[in-house]
Symmetry: D2
């Protein structure tokens, strides 16, 4: 079923959640100024879902593309088209992408696990997936543990990694915290995956499950960025983007009970590794499509800024806009190419792993380059302008091209200020792991021997 945006919001309003902002538990979280923009962003995914929606054989109806197990490369491309449009339209996270990556990682990993061990994790997962598809749940995935002292193994500092602290007949009890969680507080389901691979003796950390908002002991502690501080002060557009900064949280699991029906990997190092190994390229590849959409947004902003300043005909500046579009189209093309050159893994079509990691690296470089171009083109005003509340006093000075009002120009300025001071630059680097992590992954994936052989032929080695 495809939910309407307002239905998602309505359902969200019925949940009770422990959400903290600035150290205090908040009421009516759906309308909190730091959460409402996230809710609107997630709702937007519902509003344009139809055109990307596949038919799911699992439930016999159309479902949201983000809750679907991709079968073909066309599926994957449809997802990337969807992602790029969302990033462009929202200029911030859509928050559901990690949920999709989790579904497309748990599916093939549990299938292999059951085949190997004779367990029935995959069936359990399908049960939940059916519900997700039918109810059009918004899902997110939590991987990053707080990790503590990086010089130590998890077993030396157990409280820094989410782990199973009790095994019961009806389920497990988990304890720990996940950090860097985008939008988890506004989702229907939070998948929980391992942050890394583990070694023998560390089985307690090798767990994959789904947490639900009604589960007791889950707390969401929101991050606090400057843009979010602005959101709390109100105004029509002072915070720059009505969909807000990329809003993340820490999720604390204070001895949370998870029934077996929602446990998909339990103390199995191999399956945990599989989940991570499928999730990473899946997320890195969609990240390239996401960055393409973000750069599209910056290019649109750059173009509007030039127009409001009467600079739209300066060739050197348009060349810089073209550079932005070049990296956007390039990053997106990488994700599409990776989809086509991908492969079926246990019934799930995943992108080409090498290209996915390449997309991460080039996508981030492109994002950073586009941001620099945007700054260069836009002029100093994007870092120094008065607020919307000063508009009456300074509007006559701020207005430039007669085709735009002073308010319109200030809106553009604030939107660009948003791009330059939001947490998106950091997010671009670290979403799905850093570029360095992607390169390390590539070292394991890359086939140097065939390249060496070709060289040998050129030199009669």
């Amino acid at each position: 079923m495809l939910l309407k945006p307002e239905e998602y919001i309505e359902r969200l309003g019925e949940y009770k959640r422990d959400i903290y902002v600035l150290g205090k538990k908040i009421e009516d979280f759906v309308n909190h100024p730091n959460i409402r923009p996230t809710v609107e962003a997630m709702a937007y995914t519902y509003s344009i879902a139809e055109k990307y929606a596949p038919h799911s054989e699992l439930v016999g109806e159309k479902v949201n593309r983000l809750n679907y197990v991709n079968q073909t490369f066309e599926d994957l491309i449809a997802r990337y088209d969807y992602q790029r449009e969302l990033s462009l339209k929202l200029a911030t996270c859509n928050y559901r992408c990690t949920g999709c990556d989790a579904i497309n990682a748990i599916y093939p990993a549990t299938k292999a696990l059951d085949e190997r061990e004779g367990t029935d994790y995959h069936r359990r997962f399908l049960e939940l997936l059916k519900e997700i598809q039918k109810k059009d749940y918004a899902c997110t995935a939590a991987l990053t543990d707080v990790k503590g002292d990086r010089g130590k193994r998890p077993s030396e500092q157990k409280d820094k990694y989410l782990r199973v602290v009790e095994k019961r007949e009806d389920g497990i009890v988990v304890r720990g915290a996940k950090i860097c969680q985008s939008g988890a507080f506004a989702a229907d389901v939070n998948f929980v995956l391992p942050t890394q691979t583990f070694r023998p003796g560390e089985e307690e950390f090798a767990v994959v499950f789904a947490a639900m908002p009604e589960d007791e002991g889950i707390k969401y502690i929101l991050q606090n960025t400057g843009i979010q501080a602005k959101q709390r002060e109100g105004g029509k557009f002072e915070a720059g983007n009505k969909y807000g900064d990329r809003t993340t949280c820490m999720v604390v699991f204070d001895d949370v009970f998870i029934p077996w029906e929602r446990v998909f990997v339990f103390e199995d190092l191999k399956a945990a590794r599989d989940v991570v190994s499928y999730f990473a390229p899946s997320h890195r590849c969609v990240g390239a499509a996401c960055k393409a959409g973000f750069i599209d947004s910056m290019a649109g902003a750059a173009s509007l800024m030039l127009k409001t300043s009467g600079l739209e005909n300066v060739s050197a500046l348009q060349q810089k806009v073209a550079e932005m579009v070049a990296v956007s189209e390039g990053a997106f093309a990488i994700s599409v190419g990776a989809a086509v050159k991908g492969a079926n893994h246990n019934g799930c079509w995943l992108p080409n792993f090498q290209m996915a990691n390449s997309g991460k690296v080039i996508g981030v470089e492109g994002f950073a380059k586009a941001l620099m171009n945007l700054i260069d083109i836009s002029g100093g005003i994007i870092g120094t302008s008065p607020s919307e509340f000063d508009l009456e006093m300074v509007g006559d000075f701020l207005r430039a091209s007669e085709k735009f009002t002073a308010e319109q120009r200030l809106k553009i300025v604030k939107f660009i200020e948003f791009w330059t001071t939001s947490s998106h630059l950091v997010g671009a680097f670290h979403g799905g792991g850093s570029p360095t992590a992607a390169l390390i992954t590539l070292r394991f994936l890359m086939d140097l021997s065939s390249r060496e052989e070709a060289v040998k032929n050129c030199i009669d080695f």
Copy 2:
């Protein structure tokens, strides 16, 4: 005389000023949460002034280096040492650098003007300079006009450029607004300079003068960044840096009367051009030293971050810190080299103009590179962490290396978040004009013919 920091603050408290934040005029501006950090930053310039202070023959005593007309390249190097230390120690503007650049531009330009025209602008300027040196005034300079539609000349949109609207026996009346003004609201003197060169028929814009806080009709409208919104919410370190974001304002001149004694260029296109031509390299060159100090701060933060995470011994990460130091040392060395290869202009030692512009270009590239390295090294937490107000709840999770408390780690995280979301990246690009502007300047300065001749010799042309 060298003022004590507290004396500067005390004097500031005695001024009455029209300062607006979020559309409202504020009281007790010295203690306003968006201004106090700037005041502290400027006060810091007084606290370490002694070691850089030259003896001024003009007043026969030691004066602040920032109020001094540099006589030798050693003077200039001392200034750059001072600047770099300030940028490192403050991690934000010291706000007095434009004042120093203005003094070192008006001095030689008025000297030449008087010699050419038989006027006495230079004497007037020296009178004010004596007062500035004796009272150790904090000075800033305002150049950037709002400019309006960039496709039009100033004469087609007079209200977008500050100009003389009345000439009286005792002085002039000016109208207009200057944007991108760092710290003007917390200074003792605001020099006002042209934003660009002007053509015949545009003499009304070719004016240079000094505005004083007691002048009627001056309004300061503060910018509003996310970090500044955080400052308004209080907390011990939530805004990241106790010296605050780079805080700028728009200065509105609502028919302000300036007595002749404070007018230094009046309707003289050549002198106005000289002022701009001296100011630009002076400011761009000190900007390289400034960026060096900022990168130093980021390198220190990176190093601390690695230590708190237990990653200080990872070679690949230290290599990235070394890259940061390389660009810092390089940018600073350029400013020093430019000082040595500079020249005396009408009694004022200015840096080598080509090297100064090069310093701008390489300094900004270095700043951007250092910022990317900082982000890469520090991990996703710098874009996603909870606030200081959540510390009690999440401290145990955030703590990593046992050598640091959770609060200490969060302080580092928030400081790095400050670097990644403050307005400094935009400021680095546009302070003193964009890199593109510096390159355009270089096109006029660069000597291609001697380079061409050398090539011709290599090929018996």
Copy 3:
């Protein structure tokens, strides 16, 4: 029909051609030390043709992929796979790519031309294409005119642009010269296309035709690079790569008669523009796949070099190899993505034009980056080593890892020296036009309005 490599060479040996090296006409061109490597490279395209060969309905048999009009995106991907393999295996041009681009540009352009004007150029072209496919001709395309003074129009300096100087009943006579022609001297057919678009009054330059080796008045004047000088001196591997430097020539048309059957555009500005507009993205996109293959070769060389030096386990160096693979996979993925997101133009599937131009830009940046990494990794020896003729004297010193002989190590060194001093870096920049040209093209193609609209929605514009 798919020719065997030796059949291509044999046929080549039967041609008589005016080919000049160092100012002298050469005999037995097929075995000349500057041409034989090119012949071997082109022969290699025949040796692996089978696995990429499509069935052509035009002739009812399997034909070489490079002589085929692509119908689907799968066709295009097959071509890119072929291209990447060739670039990797040859470490130099395969020389037939421009021919393929010409076929895929003339086909749709003449189809549109005939529909518009009722002419029969398309039929003529199909006749030649049948012959090409049946005989498995090696084709190249010549676009770049010498252009002369770039400040003047073609009509002001007619001898700098190839043009029609006589129109006869049986054909046309053309005069001029094309520069930057890779491998034209070793092909069976040279397509000739316009270097740019032309304006009314410049119809004489708007001509597209096919030249044949037997046409009188065609002269090939070979370029002369350092690597080619080495080739003339002989040795087993001193020149680095047995397939030689990228070998180009100037083709002079000294009043060459072309029968109507081989004329495909004649004095038609629109059709000439179409040909250029189809050729450019086609060539730029395959160029990204080509660069991927070149980078693959460099990555293989880097890996071998590390092994011969005993450095293969140094993590920091392997990370740099991974960066090379990242740009290779990324550039290739862009070409694949562009194929999928391409479109059918008058019966010919062409890549997405925006992505094609992006591939050019990112491909060149990637090539340059990979080259720098290769240099960095390989050590100073790649720029300073003795020759193979010194091996007896210095072999003991050059040998490093015991797993390789001194000769093997020197072969790798010379191969890397080849990459760093051949004309490939220049070729990467300018093949298919410079990155700047690609960006200018993007400015015309890019859709800013939809991006602007998205931004407007984010700010309630």
Copy 4:
């Protein structure tokens, strides 16, 4: 004494040397086509020596700046001015810079050694230095050993590192080979220094001495680049630059006897380390000035190329020339700044070590960027042009702007081809050690604690 260029050449002609090219010992080495350009380049250092020549107290007369022990930062700046002019004028190595670095490393190291151990190495060195200064010898320095398998220590593969194989009453016998030696074959003195620091037990490698051309057992085996192959073929300008490619050699020491008077460090690990520690920053810093000169040459070539093509008024292209000048001025300013911020080490003024390493890193990046700009600006012709021997045939086509002849245009083209295919790019990376090596050095030099302290103050740590 300051020798005249012809006197240096005459003296060179009197030496007998074992020099090998392409595996064969050559006669009349001074006039060999691969050596004569190097001789001319070194002779050029004599022709402009006067304006940079200091008075040496050691010999009581004016001496060449390159044979001088720098006393002040002005000395060092004079050297950098000299270096930059040489690089610009020659567009290749001057070959004497390593000699100067060796003198300025051995001087302070032996002074400290004698003070520590009571030896008289320093006196010996001064004796030789006097002779060098009086006779105006051209000196070079050899550091890089062939190193063999980098996974092994020198003691495991003694033949890969130059070492003492016999200690006699009158001197020592050394064996081994040094690679990457620029111009050693055309010098009067070859200083030999360690390639790295050594550990206890490796004392046999810790040796510093001066080799003379008359020493028996020294062989010079020349490198072989493409440009050098062109030089052997003759022509007036076909090889691009009359001063030739950077010409290096391997120097083989086949049991060479060195009398004690020319031994300056013998089996002393600390002194050997000192020599390396002084040499490295000295050479890296002058390398930045050198790169500045090379970039100047490229900028001059770019400017001429634009003029010959009629493109000199295209703003976007001039902007790229300005970028080249920006990196040139910046790299040079770093060397000047490093000189000023340097220090006296045992009677010798050396540049600031951190800035010197920064100069290496930024200088190489600048060189690579300038090269890319040069390629971008110049057009495809620089990688595809016919030879000078084809000029008669193609001159009319190659000519462009009427202000230049076809030959002049081709000379510029060949000069730029030289820059793009010579071994200078590799040389820029590896001269004085790679950028990576410079960064590793910086890690040991950089002061992070003061930077950390500054950060702590900003956050009340």
